[in-house]
Symmetry: C2
């Protein structure tokens, strides 16, 4: 088995991410969605997926969609590992901004050797999550995906910690950065208003931030243990 081309890696990664985003346990990604995620024509995705199926990396059901096999899932997790470690490295060690590392990592993830990745992993102290709070798979490809709540579901008024941002759009990331809403930040949700389609968040230095509900759903939080 030759090492997968970066095209193959990108398809696997996209399928993995589409599967995760999907209704739990539906797990069949339609070709249109996949093609959209990769920016290719639908027919291209069909063709490529058929060859992935021949390599045993995915299960393909014509007209229904595609799903990773265990082998494909492992490979995808390792790509994600490279991507996320690289992002964290660029932020922590090279001081790049949260918003600009995504594209860089997108290219470097296909060029970095396992050796380099492991060294980066060690240097960063075997971190559990990247700058967006996305969990980093270990070198065997397994990853813990913790239970979570979002700004839409967490209890009102209690302090929580922002743990993860499930959107890579760089304009969105820049907005969060300028609002002080980075993973690790302690905040609390003061109010939700379905009619106004927003939530009110009290953040760093008691600053008040209003966020649309669509965006709020992309911010995951964990309960914060009160100290003192």
């Amino acid at each position: 088995m030759a090492l997968p081309s970066s095209t193959v890696e990108n398809y696997l990664k996209a399928i993995y991410q589409a599967q995760s985003a999907q209704d739990p346990e539906k797990r069949l990604v339609p070709m249109g969605r996949l093609a959209g995620a990769l920016g290719v024509a639908p027919g291209t995705a069909t063709t490529m997926v058929k060859t992935l199926a021949e390599s045993g990396l995915v299960d393909y059901e014509p007209y229904a969609g595609v799903r990773l096999t265990p082998a494909g899932e492992k490979l995808a997790a390792l790509v994600l590992r490279r991507h996320r470690l690289m992002e964290l490295f660029l932020v922590k060690v090279l001081g790049m901004s949260w918003a600009e590392v995504h594209d860089e990592a997108e290219r470097l993830e296909h060029a970095a050797s396992d050796r380099l990745i492991d060294r980066i992993d060690a240097m960063l102290g075997r971190p559990a999550a990247d700058p967006h709070g996305d969990p980093i798979p270990d070198s065997s490809g397994s990853m813990v995906t913790p239970e979570y709540q979002t700004l839409l579901t967490c209890p009102l008024g209690s302090p929580v910690v922002l743990t993860r941002v499930t959107d890579q759009d760089s304009a969105f990331l820049r907005f969060l950065e300028s609002s002080g809403l980075k993973p690790g930040q302690a905040i609390r949700v003061e109010a939700r208003d379905a009619a106004a389609d927003h939530v009110v968040v009290r953040g760093r230095r008691e600053r008040q931030i209003m966020i649309g509900m669509r965006a709020a759903a992309k911010l995951q939080v964990a309960p914060l243990e009160q100290t003192g």
Copy 2:
């Protein structure tokens, strides 16, 4: 002008390096040599070089060889810049060994953005040379190539500093490393014996090292100012 594929970058780099290695001012790299350096069939090199010529990156003279145009030379220098900064970064920041960084940099040089490279450059303090002592072009693609002597040409007995190793073979590099012969090291040549085809070098901690003349020619040195 689209950005060059990594294949194009590799051809330009190979031509650049072959030109530098060549008799000064002959400057025409034959297809055979180029194909050999890149590990492709001769016909492949011919085809590719013709398309490079159409893009104005090289001058191609059928049956004679190929030479970089100013545009090609600049691009090649920028590839070299990415490669060398990357190598130095891997050694200095990630603690990788001198011998193992070459292949890694070979892949990363095509994936790293100018932005990342500049950041690395700044972090390393705008270094003049990579771990092998090869000069690093600046971001405009110009590079100073200092005059040099080698272990074969430097004065006998006087202290010199090892400045550059013009061979990337990793077995050779490991030998040098184990002998303490890294760029920056102060040494002196005690004797040369043409019949025995070796030179005798006195190195770190008065250790004596014998090196074949072929290898000795690959070690460049500069006079060392005596202090005290």
